[in-house]
Amino acid sequence: MIETRDLSKQFNDFWAVDGVTISVQPGQILTLLGQNGAGKTTTVRMLTALLKPTRGWARVAGYDVMSQGDRVRASVGVLTEQHGLYMRMTGIEYLDFFGRIYRLSAKARESRSDYLLNYFGLSQAASRRIGEYSKGMRQKLALARALMHEPPVLLLDEPTSAMDPESARLVRDEIARLRSSQRTIVICTHNLAEAEILADKIAIIYRGRILMVGTLNELKQKVLGTAEYEAKFSSAWRGNGFNLPNGVTLIERRDMSLRFSVENPSEANPLLLHSLTDSRAPLVAFQEVPRSLEQVYLKVMADAQAPSAEAVHAG
């Protein structure tokens, strides 16, 4: 579990992170989204007890980052922004080295190395120097290092960058598997599609401050308004005798389709469908109008960068 309150970090007179409050439960993935220099890496470094917070506190896996740094680090698997591999070591030597740092027994080191190298398809290259690896292979090896000691908390910075689609899928599957084994996971990424697939919660960070945090649906509702649904018909339908349930508004009428704004889809959608079928609508499809995380992110960033918001931020 990760919990922070007012977590802040100042470098000289610059606040890199300012009042970050988040909570990530075991079995949850939080994705931190933000521009370069927004404070994602500094936040992760504070959660790894690499940097001491200037203000506020954080507990990671039950340990205080200020006073129990070593325990925090032993409980965390970190994939850093730069993969940080030793180019003159072989893959197997590298994993063994970190296994020893994390005080794993020789047997555990061997079995974990074998499993991870095999899982990420690196077994064939295990005895080659890392300098000879491709970018994707290096990224996979760095991820294997982060998983070597089976940490309860994972902090992953761009886990699928530089990977081919197949490998990226493999890594996403592994992250999803780790979530199901009750790991607490924080991912920093610019890959919005990936965040959309993986994240249970999304936090958008800008100039060291969390602008918004919540589930994907919560963010969509907050930023883009209520969800929109579209009913498509096999032939032109005028909608005679059709009653709208409470919380549903008709926002667009066409010959072959109707579009609705729905405040509470889980309650209103069954009633809406019931009403449509009762009115003998030639319904062939009913679906949510797609609204991506990208739209949410761009809207939030545009609002944050608007002159009035800048003035508020500066104030």
Partner: protein, 477 residues
């Protein structure tokens, strides 16, 4: 403890493996190890032949030990490259962050890297020396004694520790190998000067004098290790302030510390200077102790050793000694006058020397300069005692009037330098090295300009216009 040592060795082992797979480190190491003994042997051979032709053996006797010192030193210069590569190289390539994210103590990492930074070049250095000695043994050159060789091996080891620990200090403050290489001149130049000094000791001193060099290098290396360790914090290693010159922040930090909350000169003295002076209580006690010991040692040495010298002296030597002693306390001829400005400038020069010596040696050279000045007082009083003038009378009439101001000024100037050295080698939690240095600089400026300069100005006036009159009135003509 065993687990800790295993962790240190684990770091060292990885570094070692890395070094042996890096031809950029191995090649110069092998070349220097093998080529220099040949070169030096050839030079020694030629030099011995040259001096023998003129019947001289003095230099030749010392040539082999000198060559051992030089041969041992060259492979050690690689330690600088190894250490910079090991620390800054890791930072630059981003490989240090996964290590720092692991559950190891800062000192595991520090000593692991220090060990291997020293070990490989040192092994090369020993091999080089052994290679040279093997060549020497097959010629008609005089082999150094085991005692001398032991001293030389110790000195070589101390050099390696000194250079690597200095390189680590530099590495902590740099984010790129390029920047670290530029800063490395701060190691190379002093070490080159030190080597010259040691060479002088080798040729004109005795083996015993080499102990002084060993002790001095070990002290410096120890302080550098302490400094490196105290700033070898994850926070500093990942900090973002390095390599960028933020003049605005520097100015604000310095000014904030210098001016504090004060609104006027009176307020500045009342709060800021007072605060800085309060921090000098312990350093003042130490420099007072040093003064007592320094004074007593010099006075005792003079009164025990000088009588023999005086008995052997010619009338001309005797006059010179007296004249030197008189000038040391500013006692010139009755018709001569030293201006207050000259005295003031001289004392400023001394206190500034204490500062300069102190900042390049964690206060050691600064305190030594202070000790020499205090020792001078003991020497002069001792000499006057030998020529029949009461040292108490001389102290009261010739030193006390201006010494009341001058000696405390000297002590404050030394105490602040001592504090600077102590703070630098002590961990300052939550502060970057830049911030610590700027705050210390502000404290020094407060003490120097707020206390030392005014005291020295008063002392100079008293020494120029009052002390001579008192002295000439009470001293025998």
């Amino acid at each position: 403890m065993l687990a800790d040592l295993q962790m240190v060795w684990l770091v060292a082992q990885r570094e070692l493996r890395d070094q042996f797979r890096d031809w950029r480190i191995l090649t110069p190491l092998i070349v220097l190890t093998l080529s220099f003994p040949f070169l030096m042997n050839q030079v020694a051979h030629e030099a011995v032949g040259f001096f023998s032709r003129y019947g001289t053996t003095l230099i030749a006797d010392r040539l082999v030990p000198f060559s051992v010192l030089i041969i041992g030193f060259f492979p050690i210069t690689i330690s600088l490259v190894v250490a910079l590569e090991s620390f800054v190289g890791e930072k630059e390539r981003g490989t240090i962050e996964p290590l720092l994210s692991a559950p190891m103590q800062n000192w595991h990492l520090y000593f692991g890297k220090l060990l291997i930074g020293i070990l490989t070049p040192l092994v090369a250095s020993y091999a080089s020396i052994a290679f040279y000695l093997a060549m020497v043994s097959h010629q008609r050159l005089q082999m150094p004694s085991v005692y001398t060789l032991t001293l030389l091996f110790m000195l070589t080891t101390a050099h390696a520790v000194l250079m690597v620990s200095a390189a680590i200090v530099i590495s902590v403050q740099s984010t790129s190998v390029r920047a670290a290489n530029l800063l490395a001149s701060f190691i190379i130049i002093p070490v080159a000067l030190m080597m010259q000094g040691e060479s002088v000791l080798m040729f004109w001193g005795t083996d015993k004098v080499l102990w002084l060099a060993i002790v001095a290098v070990v002290i410096m290396a120890g302080l550098l290790v302490r400094l490196g360790l105290s700033h070898f914090e994850r926070e500093y290693l990942l900090g973002r302030e390095f390599d960028s010159l933020n003049l605005r922040w520097m100015g604000r930090t310095f000014w904030g510390s210098f001016r504090g909350e004060s609104k006027s000169l009176f307020g500045w003295y009342r709060f800021e200077v007072r605060k800085a002076m309060r921090q000098l209580i312990v350093p003042m006690l130490i420099v007072a102790g040093i003064a007592v010991v320094g004074y007593w040692l010099s006075y005792h040495w003079v009164t025990v050793n000088i009588p023999k010298m005086l008995s052997d002296a010619t009338p001309s030597d005797y006059a010179d000694i007296i004249q030197d002693a008189r000038q040391s306390v500013g006692l010139v001829q009755a018709n001569q006058h030293i201006s207050a400005l000259a005295i003031f400038a001289n004392n400023i020069r001394v206190t500034f020397l204490i500062f300069l010596g102190g900042i390049v040696s964690f206060s050691v050279l600064g305190v030594m300069t202070y000790l020499i000045n205090i020792g001078l007082i003991g020497t002069v009083l001792g000499i006057f005692k030998l020529i029949g003038v009461s040292p108490t009378l001389l102290f009261l009439a010739g030193l006390l009037p201006h010494g009341i101001f001058e000696i405390p000024a000297l002590m404050f100037a030394s105490a602040i330098v001592l504090r600077i050295g102590a703070v630098l080698v002590t961990p300052q939690i939550g502060k970057s090295m830049g911030q610590v240095i700027l705050e210390l600089a502000a404290d020094w400026v407060k003490v120097f300009f707020g206390v030392v300069i005014p005291l020295l100005a008063i002392a100079a006036l008293v020494e120029a216009y009052i002390t001579p009159s008192i002295l000439f009135a009470v001293l025998p003509k």
